[in-house]
Amino acid sequence: MRISRKWLSQYMDVSDLSIEEMADRITSAGLEVEGVERLAQGTNLVIGQVEECYPHPDSDHLNCTKVNVGDEVLDIVCGAPNVAAGQKVIVALPGAKLCGGEIKKGKIRGQVSNGMICSLVELGVDPHSLSEEQKSGIEVLDQDAPVGNKDPFAYLGLDDEILEIGLTPNRSDCLAAFNMGLEAGAILNREVKLPEYQGAANVGGKTNLHVSSTTEKCPLFLGKVIGEITIKESPKWMKELLAASGMKSINNVVDISNIVMLETGQPMHFYDKDAIVNQEITVASGFDEDYVALDGVTYHLLPEDIVITNQSKPIGIAGIMGGDDSKILDTTKGLIIECAIFDHVSIRNTARRLNLATESSIRYQKGIEPLAASKALDRAVQLLIEYADAKMIEETVQYGDSGYTPVKLSCTLKDINGRLGTDFNVEEVKDVFERLHFEPVYEDGNYTVNIPSYRTDIEGKADLSEEVIRLLGYDRLPSTLPLMEMTEGKLNDKQKLIRTVRNLYCQLGLQDCLTYTLVSTQKKDNAILGLQDPIQLASPMSEERRWIRTSILPSLLDVVSYNHARTIKDVNVFELSNVAGTQGTRMHLAFVLSGLLQQTRWLQYELPSDFYTGKGLIETLFDHIGISAARVSFEANTEDVVHFHPYQSAKILIDKKCIGYLGKIHPQYAKETDCKDVIMAELDFDALVDIKKAKIKFAPISKYPSVQRDLAFVIDRNMPVKKVVNIINKNARYNKEEIIRNVEVFDVYQGEHVAKDEKSVALSITFQSDTHTLKDEEINEVFENILNAIQTECNATLRS
């Protein structure tokens, strides 16, 4: 919304306020002034007359002039092609500050030049509002322009300042200058006087005009025939107001329709009476055809568009643009006025589809106050009579109604102060309502207010409290904390577990990441541990963002390849995020390891990011959160051998239930993702949340010494070492006490000195009792049993 100082000055006296002061106060009351614009800028200007003009002796395009500026005659060198003796012009005197810089006394190619003859472009006037002639040369004023006048902007009507106001959606009423005037008056606490125009359209004789609608998208249509009008130039004030609103003046009649729209917020359309056959206008929909609008462009209408028709033929796209056939021409003799309400959603869709954002469509989209149509018609008739010699006016024809019922509200002072936490008194609040023209009555501790028709945003007490605080000022709001019963601030178990895991993995050297939820079809198809039935968006922004992911890993692999491409090595990352499918949302934990996890090169210390590091990260995680190693197993992955290396990957099971996958990337998939040799894992984090976890409990520490025995043997290469360890643990008892406290693998070897299909394994077993110091015989007995068991059950050959 653009409103100028001059426009506001029609309604109230703001001569004591600078434009910045007005902007500040209007902004603090909730109508954000996003910018202040001046129509023209420059200091030290004067109107002068060119007395002499002759070619510059040393230039083929410059002229030397003598310009009378009232109190002296200045030598000025001028480069404009249109300069000539006798012209009245705008002169920037030495010291003048213009957009382009400061004007100084000087010489141009040897000739004295003590000023500048200006074009409007040089004075900062918006080139869009200028003709080609004005843009390419100096501004030539009328011959009656007063030489010596030091305010040429006022002479030209360019002395206006414009507030650019960003309206919140609830205040589209302020798109109407009348309403904006009332609002500004309330904010600035001024008496506002709007033009008297009510009832101006209640004149006219019999009419043959017939208006109707065959679509429910037009609840109200006011039509009126003005039999005779005179097309001519608009008065100066109209031109100035239009210019300040960024619109061009066309002729008096078209300008009136625009001025009325700007004043009341109601778009209206004037048809050439003679172009409307049988004086019949019907609003309809259901067209599917091409149509040429008054901008000369062909638009394709669709059945959902609202169309204005005459004799079943489109003559306008309702609320957006009229037609070429019925537009106002210089030869137009009479008018039919259209003043209607259209469904704003429909207007929005049509305007967007046709890419047509007109002043009219913007207003319809934002919603128009219910009484705007009748206000606009009154005002238009008034202006047409005054400025277009309107005669032979016929009575108004109405289809439908506005559906408006006045709103009356009541509230107490306590309602207001109670919501705000303030201490305003009766008079202060009443004053606010008065300023807003709510006609407050205060009786028995109760305010009764009548809400003006244009304030459709005011529906109840809460809205009234906002009016009070925004007009009395938010700086008067105290700062307190809520007084209420104590509540416990806390995270739930899942949130705590998320933090535990995030902290743990960060401490173990992994970097926490966040990647997008929406992924491409390719990533969706490459889900690992993906949920069933992926979800796609109804209308995705792009192919890259079509699907809601069911797995994190494809995105995390992107992170790794992105970093690798920038020669960043050792990328070890994890992410905890929700994934979703039609069956629901799950939280997943995923990590990708590459290069080394830890390293100090000069000490030859390194921890490679290999399968066993990945496995260790998972084992440590489980142990840390209370899932004992006995409940966990890693089994060969036979399900997903597309993404994982079939011989270096595992299913992760807790209590025999698969909750994730871990492994080296398949070389083929590595090629596709640019992620050579990475280790990756994805786990169902919600499963970890739900699973029963051990509570921490103190167990007495044995007072007796522990004994270690080592054991080395050769077994089949494909025999899992875990099987041997399980056998050992099964034989851990002596006299019902488990005396094996730890089994540690300390060497696995295959290669030279070991047969091709065998491997050599060395274990270290720790024995300890809680009741006594173990004797050799006791240990030997258990140890022998173990040796026998692994020889028979695993076909192991002992090594000495």
């Binding site: 704003h344 938010y474 995270l491 960060c506 997008y516 968006l537 922004m541 100090t600």
Partner: protein, 344 residues
């Protein structure tokens, strides 16, 4: 000179000049050993006249003690020297880099999210999270956003079907919390989450971002309580000297609605590029919960009231750390992520 004195002098000199523990040990054996001169003197005592024996014996004993203690002292001295020599030999270059373990750190958005959560937990709030996919009933209808609002157009939000979409604001979670809690009081929750908008990604826009909304409902929770709460938050996030101000605004789910500015933490309100010279930075939107919202959830707006606020996690992180491009958060460049070791 008597033989004792001679011996004493000779031994003393030799002990003093012993250069190593082994040499000293040799001297000990030489002088104090069973075949040494002191022992010889003791043996020779039997040939002395009876009256000289005690005196002689005393002298020899004194000599023995003297030499012993001299050797002992020398031993301590030599041991110390040897230790020193050994230690010196063990000198390392302490300027070489340590074997420092690589540590990861929380993603900056998680860092800010956790900080905000903790701050409100300290004030007695619960943290409630929801799903990214929400019913448009909660995302819009219950938040007092009418059916014909542009955000509810299939073209403007990321819809999955007629009724479900990727949440456009965490307000959706709050509306579910409200409905679940009704008619119990009080409610004090913060709801962090990922939200989605139909925006093309550029330096200042992201189709996905994180928000945290707060909701407090009680018998008399006022707009000034909102101000106090947000002032507390602003100080925690941006420093104790911060002040806030409210500017009127509009959100369908709050009335009155405000935009909240905080004094610029870079220039302390004097004006700088970060705050575009105004001294103030917009950080969030907030307001008193709209009576319609309470009514729809099952509360009587005459009997309770409350406030809600929504803060952009990216916005806080960008302001706090001076990050100029929102896409950094989702690119996950290791060099970027590693910067955020702690909240500060």
């Amino acid at each position: 000179m008597e033989p004792i004195e001679t011996l004493q002098q000779e031994a003393q000199t030799k002990i003093q000049s012993a250069a190593s523990l082994s040499e000293l040990n040799e001297l000990r054996v030489l002088y104090l050993g069973k075949k040494g001169p002191v022992q010889e003197l003791m043996k020779g005592m039997k040939d002395l006249p009876k009256e000289e024996k005690p005196i002689f014996g005393q002298k020899v004993n004194q000599l023995k003690q003297l030499l012993s203690s001299m050797i002992e002292d020398k031993k301590v001295e030599l041991e110390k020297k040897e230790m020193e020599a050994k230690i010196e030999n063990e000198k390392i270059d302490i300027t070489l880099p340590g074997r420092s373990p690589v540590l990861g750190n929380a993603h900056p958005l998680n860092l800010v999210k956790q900080e905000l959560e903790d701050l409100f937990i300290g004030l007695g709030y619960q943290v409630i999270e929801g799903n990214d996919i929400v019913d448009d009933l909660y995302c819009f209808e219950r938040a007092n956003i009418p059916k014909d609002h542009p955000a509810r157009d299939m073209q403007d939000s990321l819809y999955i079907d007629q009724n479900t979409l990727l949440g456009t604001h965490t307000t959706a979670i709050q509306m579910m919390v409200l409905e679940k809690s009704a008619p119990n009081l009080p409610i004090k929750v913060v709801c962090p989450g990922k939200v989605y908008r139909r925006d093309d990604d550029d330096a200042t826009h992201s189709h996905q971002f994180m928000q945290m909304e707060g909701l407090v409902i009680g018998e008399k929770v006022t707009l000034s309580d909102l101000k106090g709460t947000l002032e507390f938050m602003a100080k925690k996030l941006f420093g104790q000297d911060r002040q806030i101000r409210f500017r009127p605004s509009y959100f369908p789910f709050t009335e009155p609605s405000v935009e909240v500015d905080v004094t610029c933490h870079i220039c302390n309100g004097k004006g700088c590029p970060t705050c575009k010279g105004t001294g103030w930075i917009e950080i969030l939107g907030a307001g008193e919960v709209h009576p319609n919202v309470l009514k729809m959830a099952g509360y009587d707006p005459e009997k309770c009231s409350g406030f809600a606020f929504g803060v952009g996690i990216e916005r806080v992180a960008m302001l706090k750390y001076g990050i100029d491009d929102i896409r950094h958060f989702y690119t996950n460049d290791k060099r970027f992520l590693e910067t955020f070791k702690r909240f500060d």
